[in-house]
């Protein structure tokens, strides 16, 4: 699949502080790419370089093959962005705000109605933005990013400030966007659960470095399988299971036994169950544990000494 966004050794330092360190990222066309990392990891700085707002200290960004440093305007024509700072004029209505951007983009005024319809904001478009909730501003920001139907959308924390219903709507909307509009979505977030439900691809940035990238389903499949089980005496069970597999880990859900890569989870569950029953333990539940994006994230950021501030929403 050709790349909609490609960065090559992207680096940015602020005086002595290295904010982004040699990030080489590939966002395939029509992908929903979740860009993950804790606050301060370098997500926003990377996105700003993708948008041409910051000049890289080294490296390059290409949007559909266009070098952002050399052909910024041509590259910017292909991108719609929703940034953390929305930049709406509070004394103007939602429709007036969109109309200003439509004029600057040179797109017809009918585009304003179209994007308002898409984000279901037509009813509130005549109200001043100063009276909007944060969720409404997010939706209006998304509408503005879609003006002119750009093939690439860059969204910085798009679910910020949305209520649970709003988050669910946004999730469905973003998930369907590649199919409906043929668009590629690059979205940054620190909400692992949300990204897991939306993204087809992920990239994890830690301390300015891209520590993991790939198709989410493949990354999950590549993880070593685990067995989750509950017994009437987990402490005794843990001691017993240590003879069969690496030491189990006690969690709120029960004991988690990590298997060796390539091990058959069903066969392993049967072996462990037999050993527990023969030892006189009552087994309440046993089976393969579904692997999550959080597992992937924990694995790749384990070398980081600091406690990640990421939320498993």
């Amino acid at each position: 699949m050709p790349a909609a966004i490609e960065t090559e050794g992207l680096t940015r330092s602020f005086d002595a502080f290295l904010a982004v360190d040699g990030v080489s990222m590939t966002v395939p066309e029509r992908a929903v790419y979740g860009f993950l990392g804790r606050n301060g990891a370098g997500k926003t700085t990377t996105l700003k370089m993708v948008l041409g707002l910051l000049r890289p200290t080294a490296g390059a960004v290409r949007i559909h093959g266009l070098d952002v440093a050399r052909e910024r305007i041509a590259a910017a024509r292909k991108i719609g962005a929703l940034l953390e700072a929305h930049g709406f004029y509070a004394n103007l209505t939602g429709a007036q705000n969109l109309s200003l951007t439509a004029t600057l983009l040179g797109v017809p005024a009918t585009e304003v109605d179209r994007v308002l319809e898409v984000v279901e904001m037509r009813a509130d478009a005549g109200r001043r933005v100063g009276g909007y909730s944060l969720g409404m501003r997010q939706r209006l920001g998304l509408a503005r990013a879609m003006l002119g139907a750009p093939p690439v959308l860059v969204l910085d924390e798009p679910t910020n400030g949305l209520d649970p219903d709003g988050i669910a709507d946004m999730r469905q909307f973003l998930k369907r966007l590649p199919e409906r509009a043929g668009a590629t979505v690059l979205l940054s977030s620190h909400l692992l659960g949300e990204i897991e439900q939306i993204a087809s691809h992920v990239g994890v940035v830690s301390d300015g470095r891209l520590v993991l990238e790939g198709e989410l389903s493949r990354l999950k499949a590549g993880l070593a399988p685990e067995i989750l089980l509950r017994t009437d005496d987990d402490r005794r069970a843990a001691g017993l299971l240590a003879q069969h597999a690496p030491a189990p880990v006690a969690t709120e859900a029960g004991l988690v036994v990590a298997l060796r890569p390539g091990a058959d989870p069903d066969q392993s569950a049967a072996t462990l169950n037999r050993a527990l029953v023969q030892a006189g333990l009552a087994v309440f539940a046993i089976g393969p544990r579904a692997r999550s994006l959080e597992d992937i994230y924990r694995q790749v950021t384990v070398s980081d000494q600091r406690q990640p501030q990421i939320e498993a929403a």
């Binding site: 305007i73 024509r77 509070a90 007036q96 600057l104 503005r144």
Partner: protein, 243 residues
């Protein structure tokens, strides 16, 4: 460029800019009304209107420029709109050029309004007190020429204030600079060094000393210092990163 200008005008139209444009000239008009009404004898129109322009040039013009450029800049600083604007497929210099053009245009409008309202308030006072009616007619072309020079002499001041207001997201540096510059130009109108003060250049057009007028004109008009400074402001702001 026209699209960027029209967007800038729409934003200004919905801001407090119209109030600000009326405030300075309105104050001069109010002052003129009472000066004429309390006058003991008739003053020629030329001297009367020169007084109106002088009050505008010495204090209210630099203060209005300070407020106006701060307003033009805060329209974007306030909602943190720079990232959105600068990410659009529009050459960045156009955003700054549009702001510079609007600032200069508003100063021209305010100067014209000062003359118009100053004349109207003087005429109103004369109607109430015919004894102070000016004996001779107004030489309009001379007055317009003088005020044209005032605006050209103010270009450097506009450039400096606009750069400061756009460069810093807080309005305080621009305000402090404007108040400070105006203060010194008012307090030291006769100081020799004042001829080089951007805040004093507009008022130097009224100086009885020819060298002051000539120097200010040579710098502002002949040297094109103000226009060059405005171009430099636009280019510098377009190139710098907004962090």
């Amino acid at each position: 460029m026209l699209a960027v200008l029209s967007v800038e005008l729409r934003k200004l139209n919905r801001s407090l800019a119209p109030v600000l444009v009326l405030a300075g000239p309105g104050l001069v008009a109010l002052l003129t009304f009472f000066i004429v009404l309390n006058g003991r004898r008739a003053t020629p129109w030329d001297r009367l209107m020169e007084g109106v322009s002088g009050v505008w040039a010495v204090f209210l013009l630099p203060m209005s420029v300070t407020a106006l450029t701060a307003l033009v800049a805060q329209i974007e600083h306030g909602p943190r709109a720079w990232d959105h604007l600068r990410a659009l497929p529009v050459p960045r210099w156009r955003f700054y050029a549009a702001k510079a053009i609007c600032a200069v245009a508003l100063v021209v409008i305010m100067t014209a309004l000062t003359l118009l309202l100053g004349w109207a308030s003087a005429a109103a006072a004369i109607t109430l007190k015919p004894a102070v009616a000016p004996p001779a007619a107004l030489d309009l072309s001379k007055l317009l020429l003088l005020n044209g020079k005032v605006v050209i002499a103010a270009l450097l001041l506009i450039a400096i204030q606009l750069w400061t207001a756009l460069r810093f997201s807080s309005f305080v540096p621009a305000l402090a600079l404007g108040i400070g510059g105006t203060f010194f130009s008012v307090m030291a109108t006769r100081a020799k060094a004042g001829v080089f003060s951007p805040w004093q250049m507009p008022f130097n057009m009224f100086s009885p000393e020819a060298w002051r007028v000539d120097t200010a004109l040579a710098l502002a008009l002949g040297g094109g210092l103000g226009a060059m400074a405005l171009v430099a402001v636009v280019l510098h702001l377009a190139r710098r990163e907004v962090l």
